[in-house]
Amino acid sequence: MPKTPVPEAIPLPEVMIVPSRLLSAGTTEKLLNKIRRVKHVRQLTVSGEDLPAGISWGPGKGLKVDHDERRKIDYGGQEVELKVQVGRVFAEIDDIDSVKKALKEIEAICEEMLPFGFQLEVGRYSKYRPTVTDYKKRMR
C-alpha cells in the first residue's frame, strides 16, 4: 500500500469470485488473464491461504517449503509472484453502469474455468478511503 493512498471519489464496485476449491497457480494464471480482458475491469486483487517460502519454526526451521503453488505467474506479460493459494478474486469495475455486463462476462469465464463450482457477489470488499487505523499509523 502506498504511504499516502489516493481516495476514490466514489467507491467503485467489486465482483467477488469465490471458487468452491482453492485454485492452483496454473488455474489462477489462466483465470486472471481472462478476467483482466473483460471491459471495465480496472484492477484485480486475490486473496487466499498463505504459502510460506520457508519453515519458520519447529524441527524443520530454516528449510524451504517448495510448495508447488507458490510460483511466478504471467499476468498480462508481467511476472508476478503468487504467494497464496487463491481462494477469492476481486475484480474492481470502473463504471457502476457496466457492472451487470461485466458480471455476465465474468460468470461465463468462471463457468468455463471453474468446473467445481463458484459463487459470485457484487459489493465493495476493500477499503476505498483511509480508516482510523490509517490515521493512527500516521499513513495520512
Binding site: E49, P52, G58, D66, E69, Q85
Partner: protein
C-alpha cells in the same frame, strides 16, 4: 443385570459410525497397506532400524518402588522397555473426513492402552511410548479412519482443516507434506510430519470417493446428516448442556 457398556446414542449414520469407531470389539476395515518402515519415516522420531532410545531402565530390572498400582496394571511393551514418549498428530478436514478429532479421542481411549490424547478443533494428538505409538499410527493410517486426501499427518502447522479443498480434492497444507500423484491417482507423502523432506515419496493410496466418505463419516453436517434430525443425539447433548449449565461440575446434584 450387569452393566452393558454404551458408546454413543442415535440411529443416524454418523451416530452408528461413531459407535463402530468407539467400540473396541468392532474390527475396523483395513483400506490400505503402508510398511512399518514408511510409518517410522513419516513420524520422523527415529530412523528405521535405529534402536529405541529410553528414558528409564527396563522394568524387568526391578528398580521401581513397590506400588499396588504397578502390580495391578500390566505395562505396555514400550513402558516395559523404558521407551521415550513420542507423538503423532492427525488433522481432519471438515469436508467429510472419515473421523473428527473428538471422536478420535473417544476412539483412542477406548481402543488403545497407554495413550494420552489431546483434542483441538481440527487436530488430534496422540502421545505414547515410541514402539507402541508406531504400531498405533500404522493401524490408524491403514484403517478406515484415515483418508489420504482429507486426513493429514501433521506434527506442526496443522492449519487447513476448515479450508476449502484444492482442485485435486486434497486438504490445504501450507508446508505441502503430501502431493497428488496424477499418474497413479494416489497421494504421496514427500515430507515427514514436521515437514522435513523424505528420501523418497511414500504412497498412502487413493482417496475415497465422495459417496464412500459420506457413508463412512462420523460428521454431522447440514449438507449431510443434520444433528437435529437425530432426536436421541440431540436429547443427550441437550441433557449434558443443561446439566453443565445448571450444575457445573456437580451434575449428580441436579434433581430432574
Amino acid at each position: 443385570m450387569a452393566y452393558q457398556r454404551q458408546f454413543y446414542p442415535g440411529a443416524s449414520l454418523p451416530a452408528k459410525n461413531r459407535r463402530r469407531f468407539m467400540d473396541p470389539s468392532v474390527k475396523l476395515d483395513k483400506l490400505r497397506e503402508v510398511a512399518m518402515e514408511d510409518v517410522v519415516k513419516i513420524l520422523g522420531h527415529r530412523q528405521p532400524g535405529e534402536e529405541y532410545r529410553s528414558i528409564h531402565p527396563p522394568l524387568e530390572e526391578g528398580t521401581e518402588p513397590d506400588c499396588p498400582i504397578r502390580q495391578l496394571v500390566t505395562p505396555i511393551p514400550g513402558a516395559k522397555a523404558g521407551d521415550r514418549i513420542r507423538y503423532v498428530q492427525f488433522t481432519d478436514s471438515v469436508y467429510f473426513a472419515p473421523i473428527i478429532p473428538y471422536v478420535r479421542a473417544w476412539m483412542n481411549v477406548s481402543r488403545f492402552r497407554g495413550v494420552d490424547t489431546g483434542t483441538l478443533s481440527g487436530r488430534q494428538i496422540i502421545e505414547m511410548r515410541e514402539r507402541d505409538l508406531e504400531k498405533c499410527a500404522k493401524e490408524l493410517i491403514e484403517n478406515e479412519t484415515f483418508d489420504p486426501a482429507r486426513t493429514g499427518i501433521r506434527g506442526a502447522t496443522v492449519h487447513g482443516h476448515a479450508c476449502r479443498l484444492d482442485e485435486n480434492g486434497l486438504m490445504f497444507d501450507a508446508w505441502q507434506r503430501y502431493r497428488w500423484n496424477a499418474k497413479k491417482g494416489e497421494v504421496e507423502y514427500v515430507k515427514d510430519q514436521v515437514a522435513i523432506p523424505l528420501d523418497k515419496p511414500i504412497s498412502v493410496g487413493k482417496p475415497l470417493s465422495e459417496s464412500e466418505l459420506k457413508k463412512r463419516t462420523t460428521m454431522f453436517r447440514v449438507d449431510g446428516v443434520d444433528m437435529r434430525d437425530d432426536k436421541e443425539v440431540m436429547n443427550v447433548n441437550l441433557r449434558i448442556h443443561r446439566l453443565r449449565t445448571l450444575a457445573g461440575y456437580q451434575p449428580f446434584a441436579m434433581k430432574e
